[in-house]
Amino acid sequence: MAEQAEDQEQDVSNGAATEPVMDAPGGGAPAPAEPEETSENDEATISAGGKSVEIGNFRVFLDLRMPEFDMGHCKAYSADNLRRDEGSAFALVTDPVLPTRHDHMTFLTGMHMAGQIDLIDYETAYWPPFGRKTMVLFYEKPAGGRVLAKQTKKLPIDEHDIATVVVEPLMNAMQAFGEKGLAHRNIRADNLFFADPMHEKVVLGDCASAPPGYDQPAVYETASRMGADPAGRGSGSIADDFYALGMTLAELGIGRQPLKKLNDQEILELKLSKGSFQAIASQEKLPLVLIEPVRGLLCDDPEERWGLAELNAWLDGRRTKPVQSNTEKRAARSQNLAGRDYYTCRSLAQGIAKNWSTALAPLRDSTVEIWLRRGLGDNDRAKALSEAMRQLQWAGADKRSAEDVLVARSILILDPTGPVRFKGFASMVDGLGFMLSYDVQHGRGPQRFADVIVRDIPSFWFSRQEGYSPEVQKQQQLYKNLRYYIQQQSAGYGYERCLYATVRNQHCLSPMVEEEYVVEIADLLPALEKAAETASEESWPVDRHIAAFIATRLEDDVEGQLMAMQNPSDEVEYSRAIISMLAIVQWRHGPDNLQNLSHWVARLMEPAIKVFHSKARRERVETEIPKLAKRGNLVELYNLINDEQERRKDQSEFVEAVAEYSEAESEVFDLESSGPARMELAEKVGQQAAAFASTMIALLTVSALFLMHIF
């Protein structure tokens, strides 16, 4: 167990330290050897020269890179707007193995907002360098270029102009996001562009191409969110944006990224021990004019942190209330863990997370509990830890699992605002979905996520939150669903359902359609239509991913179909459920003609035909299927086998036929087995008949004789 924990710890630290690269999908993962034939692609076609690709209303030039507009891990390419002459656009190509942010894309598309780069449109399209489809975002080129140009050492903005050039437009953008209940989560000096050639205003760059906070340097994240893996930093709130704004101002003030010399772990420890502002102020020389806003914005307590009101006051030259630089309580004596001394709860929580296996001993022998009581004087936490210990004693046979839960809970007791950490997995509760998506698409698989959910760690996180928060309530409701999904084993549930339920823009990961980058349900059937061309005869067009994708994205309830899919050995119900699901999708979202998919489905309809008992009906259906398949209409195919009136009639007639057959069989048996009884009966009847006949002859003879003598 210790070795496993160490391995996971190694993975996490490596992952956190790795800079995302965007040479290929997956941040450097090998791309397919040969790009697919683009002629097959509906939306994207490479021009004759092979240098450009048409995507929606844009022509993107593959050989015209625009590194000055690269954003985070995404690369920018020159693009022409085919519908509009004025303005200039560029294309930002997202990594297909990282989910984009749906709410942000729909909010920003086609909208002009001061302080935010204009997102003109976005399209899912075939991207030749990747050899597969991905999401491409089209932005209006900011006229003034990037604020932090790499080649210049000079400060791009005078410290006295930062308020008007940077803070005002960014406040406007943050307010707009806040009104929509969204957080930008990508505010950093590196992601700022001058909106005009005169460099009078800046705009924020992209915030939709990756999970929230994924591209942020660790220093830009609050101490709570820093502990999470980059993909699991969570959607956060406007308070996190204000923190990032504070760090942006600090970077613009000092001309380079604060604490760049330190690694992420050192930055976190520094922030935890001194507080964020002190950590920066102790290492960097901040311009005097920026000290006040940076101090207010980098306040570690989100309740105390500066917001729009304080920033407005500062812009107006009014004094604002001073904020506490570091609210983290420091113990009188240290708690040693794995050779290191920890003085604060949160730093100890981080230490436990990093030393999973060795942390168990001090927790079990109550050393940490005593430290909390005596060293820190925090009886509430000590009591909670003692309660967690007591629950360990109630654990059944699975002691190891109970010990892991104890460690995870101890971390949450020590750092209730931090991420959920479990054996190398570290994600904020509002980032669980993105974290799962990252794990699944980067070879780690869903196991870590499943372990966290099955062991109900987030529930403990919710129980440790103080006060009422609608956001937390919402997350709690969502989590309840996740737990239900993960406990179900059948198709349409499991981690796949969790994935699509938590990440709205997660494309369908079914191997059949993965490269088609299906984000919207309307794109699923066209992708399957394409897959049907090469599909093997035995495979089904709906696998676990597609079932979960449909269940999440479709407006209609398909629980009935999912129930029927629980038992694949019942071929009739299984095939009917699959055909039904696909038919509903086609009925809702089209397209009308799906010939390949219809033929694929028709091949698999053999078990479904068995719903009819009558041979004549089956033959009729079998002759109808090829005709309907040719028309490409799944709804008609489904209706053919799901004519409820016809089915009921068939069923009742079948029941009658069974009864009739059984009755006949029983009568035949009786007749065949009643030989001796029949002989007995025959003898009796024969004798009686003979006696009767004899009597009648006697009567007739006497009557005849009398009549003869009379006449």
Partner: protein
Amino acid sequence: MAKGKSSASKGKGKGGRSAFSGLSVIASAVLLFMVALPTFITLTVGLLPSLVAFIFDRSPGRTMARCVFGLNFSGVAPYILEIWMQPAQTVSGATQAVFQPLALSIMYGAAGLGWLLYLAMPPIVANVLNLSAQRRVSELRKKQRGLIKTWGDSLIKEVDRSGN
């Protein structure tokens, strides 16, 4: 107890009826002996096979005896009528008529035919019943084949399943 009593009374009633009919036969015979001796002699001699049959046939309903009697009586009836048609009924006349070989042959032959009828009728009925059963089996099999043709093997499976 009540059932036993009722069956005992039933048996008693049947026995009583039988005894009554036996007595009435004897009474009739005595009356006939006193009033019409030639007829009595003719009947006694002529119906001798029936008498034997009634004595030996102990089966319920005495069907064999009834068979023999019916045809035996048919054979005797013409001679009885012949006696009744003579102006003077005498014992010697009756005896002479009865003991003629032809008369005896007709009377006893008729009794024998009755016995043959008794023997021949059950196999005939058995054959009729067997033929009827065979025809019914064939009809039912045809019907079953028709059902299988309409519903296929699933019908057999369902029948087997419901049978199990």
